[in-house]
Protein backbone atom coordinates (compact mmCIF):
# COMPACT_ATOMS: atom_id res chain seq x y z
CA UNK A 1 0.00 0.00 0.00
CA UNK A 2 1.51 3.30 -1.08
CA UNK A 3 1.62 6.29 1.17
CA UNK A 4 -1.02 8.04 -0.93
CA UNK A 5 -3.32 5.07 -0.65
CA UNK A 6 -2.84 4.99 3.08
CA UNK A 7 -3.56 8.69 3.27
CA UNK A 8 -6.78 8.33 1.29
CA UNK A 9 -7.75 5.24 3.27
CA UNK A 10 -7.32 7.19 6.50
CA UNK A 11 -8.78 10.59 5.66
CA UNK A 12 -11.02 10.10 2.65
CA UNK A 13 -12.39 6.61 3.04
CA UNK A 14 -15.34 6.39 0.63
CA UNK A 15 -17.24 3.71 2.48
CA UNK A 16 -16.91 5.43 5.83
CA UNK A 17 -17.82 8.80 4.34
CA UNK A 18 -20.94 7.38 2.71
CA UNK A 19 -22.01 5.74 5.93
CA UNK A 20 -21.62 8.72 8.23
CA UNK A 21 -22.48 11.65 5.98
CA UNK A 22 -26.15 11.69 7.08
CA UNK A 23 -25.29 11.97 10.77
CA UNK A 24 -22.78 14.71 10.08
CA UNK A 25 -25.39 16.57 8.05
CA UNK A 26 -27.61 16.41 11.12
CA UNK A 27 -24.72 17.92 13.03
CA UNK A 28 -24.44 20.67 10.42
CA UNK A 29 -28.03 21.61 11.07
CA UNK A 30 -27.42 21.80 14.84
CA UNK A 31 -24.33 23.95 14.31
CA UNK A 32 -26.15 26.27 11.91
CA UNK A 33 -29.07 26.64 14.28
CA UNK A 34 -26.79 27.40 17.22
CA UNK A 35 -24.68 29.84 15.22
CA UNK A 36 -27.68 31.86 14.06
CA UNK A 37 -29.10 32.01 17.57
CA UNK A 38 -25.75 33.05 19.07
CA UNK A 39 -25.01 35.73 16.48
CA UNK A 40 -28.46 37.30 16.70
CA UNK A 41 -28.79 37.25 20.48
CA UNK A 42 -25.15 38.13 21.15
CA UNK A 43 -25.16 41.11 18.80
CA UNK A 44 -28.50 42.37 20.08
CA UNK A 45 -27.39 42.00 23.68
CA UNK A 46 -24.11 43.80 22.99
CA UNK A 47 -25.84 46.63 21.14
CA UNK A 48 -28.42 47.04 23.87
CA UNK A 49 -25.80 47.12 26.63
CA UNK A 50 -23.60 49.56 24.71
CA UNK A 51 -26.63 51.85 24.28
CA UNK A 52 -27.50 51.62 27.97
CA UNK A 53 -23.90 52.44 28.79
CA UNK A 54 -24.17 55.57 26.64
CA UNK A 55 -26.43 57.10 29.31
CA UNK A 56 -23.40 56.99 31.63
CA UNK A 57 -25.31 56.00 34.72
CA UNK A 58 -22.50 55.15 37.04
CA UNK A 59 -23.72 51.97 38.72
CA UNK A 60 -25.26 50.47 35.60
CA UNK A 61 -22.19 51.22 33.49
CA UNK A 62 -20.02 49.66 36.16
CA UNK A 63 -22.09 46.45 36.12
CA UNK A 64 -21.92 46.30 32.32
CA UNK A 65 -18.15 46.69 32.41
CA UNK A 66 -17.84 43.94 35.03
CA UNK A 67 -19.92 41.60 32.89
CA UNK A 68 -18.03 42.42 29.71
CA UNK A 69 -14.63 42.00 31.34
CA UNK A 70 -15.44 38.69 33.03
CA UNK A 71 -16.87 37.13 29.90
CA UNK A 72 -13.99 38.36 27.81
CA UNK A 73 -11.43 37.08 30.30
CA UNK A 74 -12.80 33.59 30.87
CA UNK A 75 -12.31 30.80 28.34
CA UNK A 76 -15.85 29.86 27.20
CA UNK A 77 -15.07 26.18 27.77
CA UNK A 78 -14.67 26.83 31.49
CA UNK A 79 -18.06 28.52 31.64
CA UNK A 80 -19.65 25.78 29.56
CA UNK A 81 -18.40 23.06 31.88
CA UNK A 82 -19.25 25.08 34.95
CA UNK A 83 -22.79 25.74 33.76
CA UNK A 84 -23.44 22.25 32.46
CA UNK A 85 -22.05 20.31 35.43
CA UNK A 86 -22.53 22.89 38.15
CA UNK A 87 -25.99 24.33 37.67
CA UNK A 88 -27.88 21.01 38.12
CA UNK A 89 -26.56 20.94 41.69
CA UNK A 90 -28.53 24.07 42.48
CA UNK A 91 -31.60 22.64 40.79
CA UNK A 92 -31.16 24.22 37.38
CA UNK A 93 -30.82 21.58 34.72
CA UNK A 94 -30.32 23.02 31.28
CA UNK A 95 -29.94 20.98 28.12
CA UNK A 96 -26.47 20.92 26.62
CA UNK A 97 -27.83 22.87 23.64
CA UNK A 98 -29.19 25.59 25.93
CA UNK A 99 -25.96 25.83 27.95
CA UNK A 100 -23.88 26.21 24.80
CA UNK A 101 -26.26 28.80 23.37
CA UNK A 102 -26.44 30.85 26.58
CA UNK A 103 -22.71 30.85 27.29
CA UNK A 104 -21.59 31.65 23.75
CA UNK A 105 -24.40 34.20 23.38
CA UNK A 106 -23.24 35.93 26.56
CA UNK A 107 -19.62 35.76 25.40
CA UNK A 108 -20.42 37.34 22.06
CA UNK A 109 -22.60 39.85 23.90
CA UNK A 110 -19.64 40.90 26.05
CA UNK A 111 -17.34 41.39 23.06
CA UNK A 112 -20.06 43.04 20.98
CA UNK A 113 -20.79 45.47 23.80
CA UNK A 114 -17.16 46.54 23.98
CA UNK A 115 -16.83 46.82 20.20
CA UNK A 116 -20.03 48.84 19.74
CA UNK A 117 -19.24 50.98 22.75
CA UNK A 118 -15.92 51.81 21.12
CA UNK A 119 -17.87 52.80 18.01
CA UNK A 120 -20.24 55.00 20.00
CA UNK A 121 -17.44 56.82 21.81
CA UNK A 122 -15.46 57.40 18.64
CA UNK A 123 -18.41 58.95 16.84
CA UNK A 124 -17.67 62.63 16.38
CA UNK A 125 -18.98 64.86 19.17
CA UNK A 126 -20.26 67.21 16.47
CA UNK A 127 -22.80 64.57 15.44
CA UNK A 128 -24.34 64.69 18.90
CA UNK A 129 -24.30 68.47 18.89
CA UNK A 130 -25.83 68.76 15.44
CA UNK A 131 -28.64 66.37 16.27
CA UNK A 132 -29.34 67.83 19.70
CA UNK A 133 -29.38 71.35 18.25
CA UNK A 134 -32.30 70.36 16.01
CA UNK A 135 -34.28 69.33 19.08
CA UNK A 136 -33.67 65.60 18.89
CA UNK A 137 -33.50 64.09 22.36
CA UNK A 138 -30.64 61.95 23.68
CA UNK A 139 -32.29 58.63 22.90
CA UNK A 140 -33.36 59.60 19.39
CA UNK A 141 -29.91 61.00 18.66
CA UNK A 142 -28.38 57.76 19.86
CA UNK A 143 -30.70 55.58 17.80
CA UNK A 144 -30.95 57.57 14.59
CA UNK A 145 -27.63 59.38 14.37
CA UNK A 146 -24.91 57.84 16.51
CA UNK A 147 -25.67 54.12 16.56
CA UNK A 148 -25.92 53.69 12.77
CA UNK A 149 -22.53 55.33 12.39
CA UNK A 150 -21.02 53.43 15.30
CA UNK A 151 -22.23 50.07 13.98
CA UNK A 152 -20.92 50.75 10.51
CA UNK A 153 -17.59 51.74 11.92
CA UNK A 154 -17.26 48.48 13.84
CA UNK A 155 -18.72 46.04 11.31
CA UNK A 156 -15.31 44.49 10.52
CA UNK A 157 -14.23 43.71 14.12
CA UNK A 158 -17.77 42.69 14.96
CA UNK A 159 -18.06 40.15 12.14
CA UNK A 160 -14.63 38.79 12.94
CA UNK A 161 -15.59 38.31 16.55
CA UNK A 162 -18.95 36.77 15.61
CA UNK A 163 -17.18 34.25 13.40
CA UNK A 164 -14.61 33.44 16.07
CA UNK A 165 -17.29 32.79 18.66
CA UNK A 166 -19.70 30.81 16.48
CA UNK A 167 -16.81 28.53 15.60
CA UNK A 168 -16.66 27.74 19.30
CA UNK A 169 -19.92 25.81 18.94
CA UNK A 170 -17.49 22.91 18.44
CA UNK A 171 -16.89 23.12 22.19
CA UNK A 172 -20.41 21.69 22.59
CA UNK A 173 -18.85 18.33 21.84
CA UNK A 174 -17.54 18.09 25.39
CA UNK A 175 -21.03 18.33 26.88
CA UNK A 176 -22.67 16.23 24.20
CA UNK A 177 -24.30 18.76 21.90
CA UNK A 178 -24.85 16.81 18.67
CA UNK A 179 -23.05 19.38 16.50
CA UNK A 180 -20.78 18.70 13.54
CA UNK A 181 -17.70 17.86 15.55
CA UNK A 182 -19.57 15.65 17.99
CA UNK A 183 -21.15 13.64 15.19
CA UNK A 184 -17.77 13.36 13.53
CA UNK A 185 -15.89 12.17 16.62
CA UNK A 186 -18.63 9.66 17.35
CA UNK A 187 -18.39 8.38 13.80
CA UNK A 188 -14.63 8.33 14.07
CA UNK A 189 -14.68 6.13 17.15
CA UNK A 190 -17.25 3.74 15.67
CA UNK A 191 -15.41 3.39 12.38
CA UNK A 192 -11.88 3.66 13.70
CA UNK A 193 -11.21 5.95 10.77
CA UNK A 194 -10.48 9.68 10.56
CA UNK A 195 -12.55 10.35 7.44
CA UNK A 196 -15.60 11.68 9.34
CA UNK A 197 -13.31 14.30 10.87
CA UNK A 198 -12.18 15.31 7.38
CA UNK A 199 -15.81 15.62 6.46
CA UNK A 200 -16.39 17.76 9.55
CA UNK A 201 -13.52 20.02 8.58
CA UNK A 202 -14.95 20.43 5.11
CA UNK A 203 -18.38 21.16 6.57
CA UNK A 204 -16.90 23.92 8.76
CA UNK A 205 -15.12 25.45 5.81
CA UNK A 206 -18.25 25.37 3.68
CA UNK A 207 -20.22 26.86 6.52
CA UNK A 208 -17.90 29.62 7.64
CA UNK A 209 -16.06 30.58 4.47
CA UNK A 210 -19.12 32.45 3.14
CA UNK A 211 -19.22 34.48 6.35
CA UNK A 212 -15.52 35.27 6.14
CA UNK A 213 -16.09 36.45 2.57
CA UNK A 214 -19.19 38.34 3.67
CA UNK A 215 -17.18 40.15 6.33
CA UNK A 216 -14.73 41.24 3.67
CA UNK A 217 -17.57 42.52 1.55
CA UNK A 218 -19.20 44.31 4.48
CA UNK A 219 -15.90 45.93 5.26
CA UNK A 220 -15.74 47.61 1.87
CA UNK A 221 -19.48 48.17 1.61
CA UNK A 222 -19.81 50.01 4.91
CA UNK A 223 -16.75 52.17 4.83
CA UNK A 224 -17.25 55.64 3.48
CA UNK A 225 -15.07 58.60 3.03
CA UNK A 226 -14.89 60.98 5.93
CA UNK A 227 -15.18 64.54 4.83
Amino acid sequence: MSNLDRFIETFLNGAVLAKYTPSILQGVWVTVELSILIVISGTLLGTLLACIRAYRLRLISFLIVIYADIFRALPPLVLILLAYFGLPNIGLSLSSFTVLFVILGLTLGAFAEEIIWAGITSTDKGQWEAARSTGLGFTRTLIHVVLPQAVRMVIPPLTNRAIAITKMTALGTVIGVPDILNQATTAQSFSGNASPLTLAAMAYVLLFLPFVILSRWLESRFSWKKN
Binding site: A130, L136, Q149, R152
Partner: protein
Protein backbone atom coordinates in the same frame (compact mmCIF):
# COMPACT_ATOMS: atom_id res chain seq x y z
CA UNK B 1 -35.59 84.93 37.43
CA UNK B 2 -34.29 88.42 36.95
CA UNK B 3 -35.95 90.12 34.06
CA UNK B 4 -34.66 93.58 34.70
CA UNK B 5 -30.96 93.53 34.17
CA UNK B 6 -28.59 95.77 32.33
CA UNK B 7 -29.18 95.35 28.67
CA UNK B 8 -27.51 97.17 25.83
CA UNK B 9 -30.02 99.38 24.08
CA UNK B 10 -29.16 98.38 20.57
CA UNK B 11 -32.43 97.13 19.16
CA UNK B 12 -32.66 97.88 15.54
CA UNK B 13 -36.32 98.59 14.95
CA UNK B 14 -36.51 98.84 11.19
CA UNK B 15 -37.53 95.65 9.40
CA UNK B 16 -35.70 94.46 6.33
CA UNK B 17 -38.95 93.66 4.62
CA UNK B 18 -42.51 94.05 5.75
CA UNK B 19 -43.29 90.35 5.35
CA UNK B 20 -43.04 89.49 9.01
CA UNK B 21 -44.88 91.29 11.74
CA UNK B 22 -42.50 93.56 13.62
CA UNK B 23 -42.00 92.34 17.15
CA UNK B 24 -41.71 95.70 18.83
CA UNK B 25 -40.26 95.80 22.28
CA UNK B 26 -38.95 92.30 22.78
CA UNK B 27 -35.80 91.25 20.96
CA UNK B 28 -35.81 87.75 19.49
CA UNK B 29 -32.76 86.71 21.46
CA UNK B 30 -31.49 88.26 24.66
CA UNK B 31 -28.34 87.33 26.50
CA UNK B 32 -28.10 88.93 29.91
CA UNK B 33 -25.09 88.87 32.20
CA UNK B 34 -23.70 85.63 30.82
CA UNK B 35 -20.77 84.09 32.67
CA UNK B 36 -18.93 80.90 31.85
CA UNK B 37 -15.69 79.37 33.03
CA UNK B 38 -13.85 76.28 31.90
CA UNK B 39 -12.01 75.14 34.99
CA UNK B 40 -10.16 78.17 36.24
CA UNK B 41 -10.33 80.01 32.92
CA UNK B 42 -13.09 82.57 32.82
CA UNK B 43 -14.20 82.59 29.19
CA UNK B 44 -17.26 84.81 29.45
CA UNK B 45 -17.26 87.66 31.95
CA UNK B 46 -20.70 89.16 32.08
CA UNK B 47 -21.73 89.27 28.44
CA UNK B 48 -25.01 90.90 27.48
CA UNK B 49 -26.31 91.07 23.96
CA UNK B 50 -29.63 91.23 22.22
CA UNK B 51 -30.63 90.43 18.69
CA UNK B 52 -33.77 92.02 17.29
CA UNK B 53 -36.11 90.26 14.95
CA UNK B 54 -34.72 90.00 11.42
CA UNK B 55 -31.45 91.47 12.54
CA UNK B 56 -28.10 90.03 11.48
CA UNK B 57 -25.51 90.48 14.18
CA UNK B 58 -21.89 89.62 13.54
CA UNK B 59 -19.62 88.74 16.43
CA UNK B 60 -15.93 89.40 15.83
CA UNK B 61 -12.95 88.86 18.01
CA UNK B 62 -9.70 86.97 18.29
CA UNK B 63 -9.87 83.25 18.89
CA UNK B 64 -10.15 82.70 22.60
CA UNK B 65 -12.19 85.86 23.08
CA UNK B 66 -15.21 83.76 24.03
CA UNK B 67 -17.36 84.40 20.97
CA UNK B 68 -17.96 80.74 20.10
CA UNK B 69 -18.67 79.89 23.72
CA UNK B 70 -21.17 82.74 23.87
CA UNK B 71 -22.88 81.42 20.75
CA UNK B 72 -22.94 77.87 22.05
CA UNK B 73 -24.49 79.05 25.30
CA UNK B 74 -27.38 80.48 23.30
CA UNK B 75 -28.79 77.00 22.64
CA UNK B 76 -27.14 75.57 25.71
CA UNK B 77 -24.71 73.27 23.97
CA UNK B 78 -22.54 74.94 26.58
CA UNK B 79 -24.16 75.40 29.95
CA UNK B 80 -23.67 78.96 31.23
CA UNK B 81 -22.53 79.33 34.84
CA UNK B 82 -24.82 82.28 35.37
CA UNK B 83 -26.85 84.78 33.42
CA UNK B 84 -30.13 84.62 31.55
CA UNK B 85 -30.94 83.85 27.96
CA UNK B 86 -34.35 84.74 26.61
CA UNK B 87 -35.80 83.51 23.34
CA UNK B 88 -38.70 85.68 22.20
CA UNK B 89 -39.04 86.89 25.75
CA UNK B 90 -39.08 83.43 27.25
CA UNK B 91 -36.45 82.28 29.69
CA UNK B 92 -34.47 79.32 28.32
CA UNK B 93 -31.79 79.08 31.00
CA UNK B 94 -32.09 77.36 34.33
CA UNK B 95 -33.79 74.16 35.34
CA UNK B 96 -37.19 73.03 34.20
CA UNK B 97 -36.72 74.23 30.64
CA UNK B 98 -37.51 71.66 27.97
CA UNK B 99 -34.25 71.97 26.06
CA UNK B 100 -35.37 69.89 23.09
CA UNK B 101 -38.38 72.17 22.64
CA UNK B 102 -36.21 75.26 22.87
CA UNK B 103 -33.54 73.98 20.53
CA UNK B 104 -35.92 73.26 17.67
CA UNK B 105 -36.58 77.02 17.59
CA UNK B 106 -32.86 77.85 17.43
CA UNK B 107 -31.09 76.78 14.27
CA UNK B 108 -27.39 76.12 14.52
CA UNK B 109 -24.77 75.87 11.80
CA UNK B 110 -21.34 74.50 12.72
CA UNK B 111 -17.87 75.14 11.42
CA UNK B 112 -17.43 71.45 10.59
CA UNK B 113 -20.94 71.10 9.04
CA UNK B 114 -21.71 67.99 11.11
CA UNK B 115 -23.96 66.43 8.51
CA UNK B 116 -25.01 62.87 9.24
CA UNK B 117 -22.73 60.85 6.94
CA UNK B 118 -25.04 57.82 6.81
CA UNK B 119 -28.00 59.81 5.50
CA UNK B 120 -28.44 61.57 2.17
CA UNK B 121 -29.07 65.31 2.00
CA UNK B 122 -32.84 64.91 2.06
CA UNK B 123 -32.82 62.68 5.11
CA UNK B 124 -30.32 64.92 6.87
CA UNK B 125 -33.04 67.55 6.64
CA UNK B 126 -36.06 65.33 7.29
CA UNK B 127 -34.73 63.53 10.38
CA UNK B 128 -35.71 66.27 12.81
CA UNK B 129 -38.90 67.04 10.88
CA UNK B 130 -40.01 63.45 11.28
CA UNK B 131 -38.77 62.73 14.78
CA UNK B 132 -39.12 66.13 16.42
CA UNK B 133 -42.02 67.76 14.59
CA UNK B 134 -43.61 64.34 13.98
CA UNK B 135 -44.33 65.14 10.35
CA UNK B 136 -45.41 62.45 7.93
CA UNK B 137 -42.89 61.28 5.37
CA UNK B 138 -44.63 63.28 2.63
CA UNK B 139 -44.82 66.48 4.66
CA UNK B 140 -41.19 66.18 5.67
CA UNK B 141 -40.03 65.42 2.13
CA UNK B 142 -41.92 68.42 0.79
CA UNK B 143 -40.44 70.71 3.38
CA UNK B 144 -36.96 69.29 2.87
CA UNK B 145 -37.24 69.85 -0.86
CA UNK B 146 -38.21 73.47 -0.23
CA UNK B 147 -35.35 73.98 2.21
CA UNK B 148 -32.82 72.42 -0.15
CA UNK B 149 -34.14 74.53 -3.02
CA UNK B 150 -33.70 77.60 -0.82
CA UNK B 151 -29.99 76.87 -0.45
CA UNK B 152 -29.70 76.08 -4.15
CA UNK B 153 -29.32 72.33 -3.80
CA UNK B 154 -32.68 71.01 -5.00
CA UNK B 155 -30.85 68.58 -7.29
CA UNK B 156 -28.61 67.17 -4.55
CA UNK B 157 -31.32 65.70 -2.33
CA UNK B 158 -30.18 62.15 -3.00
CA UNK B 159 -26.47 62.80 -2.46
CA UNK B 160 -24.65 61.67 0.62
CA UNK B 161 -22.42 64.18 2.42
CA UNK B 162 -19.29 62.45 1.09
CA UNK B 163 -20.54 63.18 -2.43
CA UNK B 164 -20.87 66.90 -1.77
CA UNK B 165 -18.29 69.67 -1.67
CA UNK B 166 -17.66 71.48 1.59
CA UNK B 167 -19.72 74.44 0.48
CA UNK B 168 -22.59 72.18 -0.54
CA UNK B 169 -22.38 70.32 2.76
CA UNK B 170 -22.60 73.56 4.68
CA UNK B 171 -25.61 74.62 2.63
CA UNK B 172 -27.31 71.29 3.40
CA UNK B 173 -26.55 71.97 7.06
CA UNK B 174 -28.22 75.36 6.70
CA UNK B 175 -31.21 73.69 5.02
CA UNK B 176 -31.40 71.23 7.92
CA UNK B 177 -31.60 74.14 10.35
CA UNK B 178 -34.02 76.39 8.43
CA UNK B 179 -36.40 73.51 7.69
CA UNK B 180 -37.41 73.68 11.35
CA UNK B 181 -38.35 77.34 10.83
CA UNK B 182 -36.34 78.59 13.78
CA UNK B 183 -36.84 81.96 15.43
CA UNK B 184 -33.12 82.61 15.27
CA UNK B 185 -30.13 81.07 13.52
CA UNK B 186 -26.71 80.72 15.12
CA UNK B 187 -23.71 80.43 12.82
CA UNK B 188 -20.47 79.23 14.38
CA UNK B 189 -17.71 80.14 11.92
CA UNK B 190 -19.72 78.71 9.02
CA UNK B 191 -17.05 79.32 6.38
CA UNK B 192 -13.85 78.68 8.32
CA UNK B 193 -13.50 75.09 7.12
CA UNK B 194 -14.15 75.94 3.48
CA UNK B 195 -11.83 76.41 0.56
CA UNK B 196 -11.85 80.08 -0.42
CA UNK B 197 -13.67 79.48 -3.68
CA UNK B 198 -16.54 77.77 -1.84
CA UNK B 199 -17.08 80.49 0.75
CA UNK B 200 -19.12 82.68 -1.59
CA UNK B 201 -21.94 80.17 -2.02
CA UNK B 202 -22.47 79.87 1.71
CA UNK B 203 -22.35 83.62 2.24
CA UNK B 204 -24.80 84.01 -0.65
CA UNK B 205 -27.26 81.73 1.13
CA UNK B 206 -26.84 83.71 4.35
CA UNK B 207 -27.47 86.94 2.48
CA UNK B 208 -30.69 85.52 1.08
CA UNK B 209 -31.80 84.35 4.49
CA UNK B 210 -31.28 87.85 5.78
CA UNK B 211 -33.32 89.29 2.92
CA UNK B 212 -36.11 86.89 3.87
CA UNK B 213 -36.08 88.33 7.37
CA UNK B 214 -34.23 85.59 9.25
CA UNK B 215 -32.79 86.61 12.61
CA UNK B 216 -29.13 85.66 12.71
CA UNK B 217 -26.26 85.70 15.16
CA UNK B 218 -23.01 84.98 13.35
CA UNK B 219 -19.54 84.27 14.66
CA UNK B 220 -17.19 84.59 11.73
CA UNK B 221 -14.02 86.10 10.38
CA UNK B 222 -15.59 87.11 7.06
CA UNK B 223 -14.88 90.80 7.51
CA UNK B 224 -15.93 91.94 4.06
CA UNK B 225 -19.20 90.10 4.40
CA UNK B 226 -19.78 91.50 7.88
CA UNK B 227 -19.21 94.99 6.62
CA UNK B 228 -21.54 94.57 3.70
CA UNK B 229 -24.36 92.45 5.16
CA UNK B 230 -24.46 92.81 8.94
CA UNK B 231 -26.84 95.17 10.69
CA UNK B 232 -24.56 95.35 13.66
CA UNK B 233 -21.09 94.20 14.54
CA UNK B 234 -20.17 93.14 18.05
CA UNK B 235 -16.54 92.99 19.01
CA UNK B 236 -15.48 90.67 21.79
CA UNK B 237 -12.19 90.58 23.64
CA UNK B 238 -11.17 88.65 26.70
CA UNK B 239 -14.67 87.50 27.60
CA UNK B 240 -16.30 90.91 27.24
CA UNK B 241 -18.16 92.75 24.55
CA UNK B 242 -15.91 95.77 24.24
CA UNK B 243 -17.61 97.54 21.41
CA UNK B 244 -20.59 97.27 19.12
CA UNK B 245 -22.37 99.28 16.48
CA UNK B 246 -23.13 99.54 12.77
CA UNK B 247 -20.40 97.85 10.69
CA UNK B 248 -19.29 101.10 9.07
CA UNK B 249 -18.61 102.67 12.47
CA UNK B 250 -16.75 99.68 13.81
CA UNK B 251 -14.65 99.15 10.73
CA UNK B 252 -13.79 102.75 9.96
CA UNK B 253 -13.73 104.23 13.42
CA UNK B 254 -13.02 101.59 16.05
CA UNK B 255 -12.97 103.06 19.56
CA UNK B 256 -11.39 100.30 21.56
CA UNK B 257 -7.71 99.38 21.41
CA UNK B 258 -8.29 95.68 21.00
CA UNK B 259 -10.74 96.32 18.15
CA UNK B 260 -8.19 98.48 16.42
CA UNK B 261 -5.46 95.92 16.91
CA UNK B 262 -7.71 93.18 15.62
CA UNK B 263 -8.87 95.08 12.55
CA UNK B 264 -5.40 96.16 11.60
CA UNK B 265 -4.36 92.53 11.47
CA UNK B 266 -7.08 91.67 9.01
CA UNK B 267 -7.22 93.13 5.57
CA UNK B 268 -10.92 93.16 4.95
CA UNK B 269 -10.90 94.18 1.34
CA UNK B 270 -11.87 97.78 1.02
Amino acid sequence: MSKTTIRPAVNKPDQQNGATAPAKGRPTLEVIGLKKSFGTVEVLKNVSLSVAKSEMVFVLGRSGSGKSTMLRCCNRLEEPDSGDILLEGEQITGRGVNLDKVRRRIGMVFQSFNLYPHLDARRNVTLALRKVLKQSRDEADTRAAAALARVGLADKAGNYPSQLSGGQQQRVAIARAIALEPAVMLFDEPTSALDPELVGDVLGVMRELKQDGMTMLVVSHEMAFAREAADRVVFMADGHIVEQGPPEDIFTNPQHDSTRAFLSRYSYGQ
